[in-house]
């Protein structure tokens, strides 16, 4: 009764699925007949590389009753809906709350494997930040011919206004979500860098909360890295980059989260992050710029703002500096930023670094700036602005995935091996019309993970988006968002295209329980009285202003 039509439908179908498959069945039976169809499997591994780190979880899964698993899964989705852990979808001019479908079978990453991914992500972020600082200053990378200048300077997301502005720690991408996929050999590869306004981290934390409530029996004593302190780390970074102020005695930067508002599809995530950081969630209309300083409108009058985690794209941030039609932004905020009176995360102009064509050059960037080889390889990429690559792409259309460079959300992609003749011809025409707008890649046979579907437990393709926070240094949240393509056979995991998510478990070294977070971790809900009051109040004071 309290679920949306679509959620209710799905719940009903699931309940029906349980009936069809007959009660009394154990998960054991279903897992024994499970077949990953030759893809690398996140739970079982592959024939040449079986997954040994998942034994304990597999054992526990096998002991579950299938109907019980289904019931817990549908309870979990209902709870997500009731708690409003939802995103807004617009249909028939009405805003409808939808949950991100949640699959209860977790995706598990071994400690050693994670250590490698963590280093790889840190390396990548370091190079991307150096690249951004470089192109907005002396442009050595262009002069040395590492990357074609027109690819950068002619990019729609390159912001000439940023030229010569120097940022704290030379950090541009404070919050990154790097999309990784795992191929048939079990090798992780970077599919995409998200350096503008990556979203999804709230689901990482909420999925974990959901699993802790619904499957305590599955996770107890397994030795999982916790995901609790993302908010605290983000707040630390926002305070680190806040500009110094001489006009106040004890400076405690006022941090805010700037959201497009309650009707943005990612509003839940904005709420989540504002709450985790203990800072106000503001909209453009709550802020004002006076004498190149940013203020928020409070019941007591205007109050200075020092550091802004903005969830609004560059274009909409400031109608005076960028898109003049923006109603979401704050007139004059760019000038305040340029003068160093306020910090913004992410910086303006980072979109040039996560461009799908620039992506192809990231391994060379890593070599150029850090003198290292990329720890996580790219997927081979053909940049269609280059004539040879275009010819190769046209000759092999039916084998390649063709992506427009500027689109997000999985739109505009043509998957050659799955496309009809007509679709291929349409793609060919678009390529010929505007080759610079496209790249092509071989189809990566994405790894799969056992997933609860209407037909039972079946393999579904997954990716992984780890989240990294960078101010002085880079911290990576253990795991990240595992997105799963719920439709049979499809490779597109985006939530806008019918994707769901899974909890991602990073195991601790040797399966040991992770030490409890230190006392200043104010986001841990399990604080007990024995923890020192001093530590607790010092962390709280961060969220309050002078």
């Amino acid at each position: 009764m309290s679920a949306s039509p679509s959620t209710a439908d799905r719940m009903a179908r699931r309940a029906q699925g349980a009936l069809l498959s007959g009660s009394g069945k154990g998960v054991d039976d279903l897992l024994s007949s499970y077949d990953a169809n030759g893809f690398y499997d996140e739970l079982f591994g592959s024939a040449s590389k079986p997954a040994s780190h998942t034994e304990a979880v597999k054992d526990r899964l096998r002991q579950l009753d299938y109907d019980d698993l289904r019931r817990r899964a549908s309870d979990a989705e209902r709870e997500l809906y009731n708690l409003g852990i939802t995103f807004l979808v617009y249909s028939d001019a009405k805003a409808v709350d939808r949950i991100l479908p949640f699959d209860v079978i977790p995706r598990i990453i071994a400690a050693k494997e994670w250590a490698h991914l963590e280093k790889g992500v840190q390396q990548r972020i370091a190079a991307l930040n150096m690249f951004l600082h470089d192109i907005y200053h002396d442009q050595h990378v262009l002069k040395d011919g590492i990357i074609p200048a027109e690819l950068v300077l002619g990019n729609a997301n390159y912001r000439p206004q940023m030229q010569g502005i120097t940022l704290p720690f030379k950090t541009y991408i404070h919050i990154a979500g790097v999309d990784l996929v795992r191929d048939h050999e079990g090798t992780f590869r970077v599919l995409e860098d998200n350096g503008r306004v990556p979203s999804g981290v709230s689901y990482v934390v909420e999925n974990r909360h959901m699993m802790l409530r619904a499957f305590p029996d599955l996770m107890g004593d397994i030795g999982l890295r916790n995901v609790e302190n993302y908010g605290a780390k983000l707040l630390d970074a926002m305070c680190e980059i806040a500009p110094p102020r001489a006009d106040v005695d004890s400076y405690d930067p006022q941090v805010v989260l700037l959201s497009p508002g309650a009707y943005n599809s990612a509003y839940f995530e904005h709420i989540f992050l504002a709450r985790e950081m203990g800072v106000p969630l503001v909209e453009g209309r709550d802020l004002a710029v006076i004498d190149d300083k940013v203020y928020m409108k409070t019941t007591g009058g205007l109050r200075r703002v020092d550091s802004i985690y903005r969830r609004i794209g560059d274009d909409f941030l400031d109608p005076l500096a960028f898109n003049p039609d923006s109603m979401l932004g704050v007139p004059g905020i760019f000038e305040a930023y340029r003068k160093g009176n306020v910090a913004l995360a992410n910086a303006i102009g980072t979109g040039v670094a996560d461009d799908k064509a620039v992506y192809a050059y990231v391994p060379r960037m890593i070599k150029y700036y850090l003198g290292e080889d990329a720890l996580i390889p790219n997927v081979d990429t053909h940049i269609c602005r280059e004539p040879d690559a275009l010819q190769y792409t046209l000759d092999n259309l039916d084998k390649l995935v063709v992506k427009p460079v500027g689109e997000a959300g999985g739109y505009g992609i043509t998957i050659g091996p799955r496309a009809s003749k007509a679709e291929l011809e349409e793609c060919r025409a678009k390529l010929l019309e505007d080759p610079a707008n496209y790249i092509s890649q071989p189809m990566v046979p994405l790894s799969v993970c056992p997933t609860l579907t209407e037909e039972g437990i079946e393999p579904r393709h997954v990716d992984l988006r780890p989240f990294a926070i960078t101010a002085k240094s880079t911290w990576v949240l253990p795991g990240g968002l595992t997105r799963v393509a719920l439709k049979k056979g499809t490779l597109i995991v985006n939530s806008s295209q019918g994707g769901g998510s899974k909890d991602t478990w990073v195991l601790t070294e040797g399966g040991q329980a992770e030490p409890e977070p230190v006392a200043d971790d104010s986001t841990d809900p399990f604080h007990t009285q024995s923890q020192s009051h001093a530590a607790l109040s010092s962390s709280q004071s961060q969220s309050q202003s002078q």
Binding site: L83, I271, M296, T298, G300, G301, S543
Partner: protein, 324 residues
Amino acid sequence: MAALLARYAECIFWMARYMERAENLACILDVHETFARDSFGSTNWLPILRLNADEKRFFELYPTASVKNVLNFYVLDQKNPTSIIAAIAAARENARQLRPLISTEMWAHLNMFYNRLLALEPATDLAQHNIQRLCASIKEACQTHTGITEGTFFRDQGWYFYQLGRNLERADQATRVLDIKYHTLLPSPRDVGTPIDISQWNSLLRSAAGYHAFRRVYPRGMTPAAVAGFLLFNDNFPRSVLVCMREVDSLLNRLNSKYRLRRGTLPLERSDELLGNLSNQTIESVISVGLHEYLDGLQINFAKLSNDIAQAFFLIDQPGTLSA
């Protein structure tokens, strides 16, 4: 001290007002259905329509003031801004803006409450024999909201604005109920002292959950003047206009002193004046001047106070208001 965003303050104030409004309306419908039968045993629903001067809008949408139509108009009709579902929808929209501030429990409850109302079927849930059950469940949901808020909402500025909205709305609703009832229930010579007359006054008290409280003060008898005086000026009844306004005045005082919201001087002056007036009134003097005129005057003052509060705390655009 943590600052409160002006927009949040406005949303909290209105969320509280809408919840209080919904609860009052559910009480009125419930009691009306049960107790307000005329001497022929049927219920006349026209007085309800006069509550918010809704007659005109009602007859634009419905041909007759039948039970079914009036109930639908007040419970489930989203086109009617004074319906329960419209109030809950408005409360939920404010709560949606407030999700960063209010407790998860407050949001989850309101969200489920709204979804439950959406799923109601007019044909069955609004059938006359189900009305009491429905009104009781709506009242209970509103009271659950109050309880969850009391138990989970952080006690800083936001809490003050929540209480401000709740008490101001409650005072306003009390005057409206009294106004409409007093007029329709003015004893005609024919009805004075008859069982119908008594049950009408019973109904008025019960719609404000005040019957038993009234009996404590007046164990015997029930006169229209005593009932009106009780709802306006009783010192201890939580829904009397005086108690609500005393609360409003003290909240505004604390916002000024504890949170140093100096812009709050204007609403505080008005509320001081209103409170002074209420404290020195007797029902006899009010009736001698005209109860309707008095209630009208109160409603105008509540609207002005609400506007003063908005000017002082919600509309922060002037650059002259820099702090820290």
